[in-house]
Amino acid sequence: MQQSAEFGELRRAHRSFAFPLTIAFTAWYLLYVLLSNYAGDFMGTKVVGNINVALVLGLAQFLTTFLIAWWYARHAAAELDPKAEAIKSRMEGGA
């Protein structure tokens, strides 16, 4: 089964989504940590009232985390679950 085209597709659908996204959010988080560490002036720039860039970027980390979670849930329901269920029912029914 592991060698089959059907499973290959499921594996690709998972990896091609999860791996790049993991690299992307880790890089985005590291960028934020590095900016906090080494770009104090930029982070202290006021945006509106007392709200500065640092706070906006921090809240943006929350927002991107929520969005990625939602996006993955959608991807999994549309692309992964049907493939996984098809393989599972075939293996448990047939072989």
Binding site: M1, Q2, Q3, F7, L10, R11, H14, R15, F17, A18, L21, T22, F25, T26, Y29, L30, Y32, V33, L34, S36, N37, Y38, G40, M43, G44, V48, G49, N50, I51, N52, A54, L55, G58, Q61, F62, T65, F66, I68, A69, W70, Y72, A73, A76, L80, D81, A84, E85, I87, K88, M91, E92
Partner: protein, 541 residues
Amino acid sequence: MSPASHTLLAAGEASEHRTLIITLFAVFVAATLVITVWAGRQTKDAADFYAGGRQFTGFQNGLAVSGDYMSAASFLGIAGAIALFGYDGFLYSIGFLVAWLVALLLVAEPLRNSGRYTMGDVLAYRMRQRPVRTAAGTSTIVVSIFYLLAQMAGAGVLVSLLLGITSDGGKIGIVALVGVLMIVYVTIGGMKGTTWVQMVKAVLLIIGALLLTFLVLLKFDFNISDLLGRAADNSGKGSAFLEPGLKYGATGTTKLDFLSLGIALVLGTAGLPHILIRFYTVPTAKAARKSVIWAIGLIGAFYLMTLALGFGAAALIKPDEIIASNKAGNTAAPLLALHLGGVDSGWGAVLLATISAVAFATILAVVAGLTLASSSSFAHDIYANVIRKGQATEKQEVSAARWATVGIGAVSIVLGALARDLNVAGLVALAFAVAASANLPTILYSLFWKRFTTTGALWSIYGGLVTAVGLVLFSPVVSGKPTSMFPEADFQWFPLENPGIISIPVGFLLGVVGTLMSKEAPDEGKYAELEVRSLTGTGAH
């Protein structure tokens, strides 16, 4: 009398506060004990004890995961750090939250599909069982004990502060009480009881945080800019209070330390055994995914609220008063409750007592989860699979788990009592660093790297573990500074408090080196089986 209890209790009628707090503590304890006994009656076989019968829904488990994860360190510690250091306190919570994406995208679902009861199940799946299970059990127990110790000592400090207990005997008594309660929850209620306790606690914590957040925002007519401005003015630090740098920005070393901490937080969560075993309590990988999504929503919302609590405390309470109560700011949230209700009013006392009881509930739920993780791993990985070589019956295994709970509980009571005056807050960060260095590399390689071998797993687990623990041993966390665990001793040479920046790459690298150096061939049949099972759930327990 410590200045801490002085500030909290002198504010109103000291004894009245105390009675109210103790009453609420007692109500929570009584309610959780009823739940535990009820859950205990339904705990019949090993799947019940280790995995709560795998019948929880995604939402229920999401609540319990949040309850397991949001420790007193995050409720009191982050609110306090924001109250004292402003923006830098907030940095913590971002790492704690973003980390959940690693669990969501790479770990939760494959783990649910391929394991049974412990993290070791997945690590050892396609490896030689005995050595890898021994390694997995060791690192599970080390991570959990560090974490547990920090929580127990924290509980002693916190409850003493809230109740105004300052005698040594009193503090030891509290540590012992927490220890005995966690032993009772776990031995009687197993995973089912622990899960319900964590769910109740999560609901209480979120309601408590919502209430305080609402009251803070009400004071500022829901104008966040005003709140921040007042916090900056009142802190005496001006706009620097709203920018990064007050806590971590002092020198090049502290900046590097923060980077190291940030990496450990983001990569550690998905390697914490007490979090990972929670995914076995749901029936399918889909439900495991739903639990993580709920957890991200709940934990994220909670950390956003700690922002309001921390800045609210900074805006409404003089920094001197917060520091006088507890140097690290750990009592900022309870103090905020008192001030919001009115320092001399009955309403202030009620609010203070409620928030204190929530903090106590928080500690109990987290220590129960940690104890369960370590005793499960001892019984399932080490006793059943290494010592008895898979020959133990289910009954013997569960009974070993119960005895291990008593043993681990007793050890942590003794260590917690001994450590009551040591500064052990650094141990939580250490637990994250060990989890990221020793556990996460092996989990990811096992699931996704075909060539990975037993030797690679052993090198990675032991190498990551020894590097992380070793570096901390020689860091300022343990010796060489007034804030160290042993301030009189000085054998420190590693400058950073968090070892992650070194030990995590070491853990990942050793997994590769060990695999390439070993002559053994990977078990390809087993990997094929694991891969199909982890992605489809075929043959999952």
